[in-house]
Symmetry: C2
Subunit: 236 residues, 2 copies
């Protein structure tokens, strides 16, 4: 594998004109690998429970096993993979127990994010969220609808401008997306209901009503958990 070094030296002598020239921080290879595999897991391309063969993955991604293993260690730290010594890495399976825990954590993060937004700029946040909801409302298939749903919650947390909340949420959203694909037949709450739930949350920001936002968020999460775990084994 040839290293891509020539990509660096471009612009022969130009001496940084406007401030528009960024320091060119290229993320590390393990980071890119982790992102790629994470996306593959979230999108259902790599199903839950399956083993990740290092040799295969390395070949597919065009890298050696070294950087690959480093990237996979990240996903292990995120709890997305579990490592069994001398056996390999496996994608976690989403049991009802895990789904409950995941939403418990998501609730913690998103409630905190919402509270933070209310202390910053709830009105413009509500407007931004409303746009995503419009996309959701105009979604034609279930896939686009779910994507908009995810976008809504990602935007919600990012509006809190908290690196740590965002980082924690990214992991949880990955699990959520994985869950959506694995249990896709359960995750259809009826288009209208879903849109309305989200719109209510957005409007609670516009109306600057922290208590209402919190209440709606809790209800929203409870609904999702109920949908995803109903009819399944081991009730709470």
């Amino acid at each position: 594998m040839a290293t891509k070094a020539a990509e660096r030296r471009l612009a022969p002598r130009h001496d940084t004109a406007r401030g528009a020239m960024e320091p060119l921080v290229q993320e590390s290879t393990p980071s890119m690998i982790a992102g790629r595999v994470r996306e593959a897991i979230a999108s259902g391309l790599i199903p839950p429970g399956s083993q990740l063969g290092e040799a295969n993955l390395a070949r597919e991604l065009g890298v050696s096993r070294g950087p690959l293993r480093e990237g996979l260690q990240r996903l292990t730290a995120e709890g997305l993979l579990i490592s069994i010594r001398n056996r390999g890495l496996f994608v976690i399976e989403m049991t009802p127990e895990r789904v409950r825990d995941m939403y418990l954590a998501r609730q913690a993060v998103e409630r905190a994010a919402a509270e933070q937004i209310h202390q910053r700029d709830p009105v413009s946040a509500g407007a931004a969220l409303a746009k995503v909801i419009d996309v959701m409302a105009s979604a034609r298939d279930q896939h686009a609808e779910s994507a908009a749903d995810v976008s809504f919650h990602e935007l919600l947390v990012s509006l809190a401008a908290s690196p740590r909340l965002s980082r924690m949420h990214e992991i949880l959203i990955t699990e959520t997306r994985m869950c959506i694909h694995a249990l896709s037949d359960l995750y259809l709450p009826g288009e209208a209901v879903r849109v309305e739930e989200h719109r209510a949350i957005a409007q609670s920001f516009t109306g600057s009503d922290p208590a209402l936002t919190d209440e709606l968020l809790v209800a929203h999460m409870s609904d999702a958990v109920r949908r995803l775990t109903d009819g399944r084994l081991e009730p709470a």
Copy 2:
């Protein structure tokens, strides 16, 4: 480095008597390395801002650079280290901004944990927390006092029995400990006050008063942030 394989075959023919025989899950080497380095950072042995030379660390820990880098990738994923390509890994520095964000995230996690405890078994949780407070009250030096403080919050979250909250909290607690050492001169709230704040929280569990717990927790965090960022640059 000799592999410890002989630890596996013990008990010659005994056919699992009581359930006390665990599956003996030995954690992976990168995981152990991550734990070791994490502890070194949390305890202040490796100060914030310092670079982690791979060759040195590998020699000290008695491993090759491969497993070491894998372990370090975990800490990078946790946000404890930042990676600059072709430059190396550096321990993050705790700016006031970061301290605020850290406590925002801690608040999110611990409030959720507290809420969960109230839905499970608040009384026995309060009792367990009271024991830690006794240790804190009998601490002779500042070091032991801080350790008990950390133990209190670790126990608090673990009592919620949520793997995800615990995992997120572990990262945040590491940052907290690092912060305590880096700014040790600021983190002395006066022994009596600190003990009383914690005891109030524990008693709010015993009294099954979720709203009070929440309120005390928020105040507790705000106090810590104020202490750690006061007199420092850039106010909120």
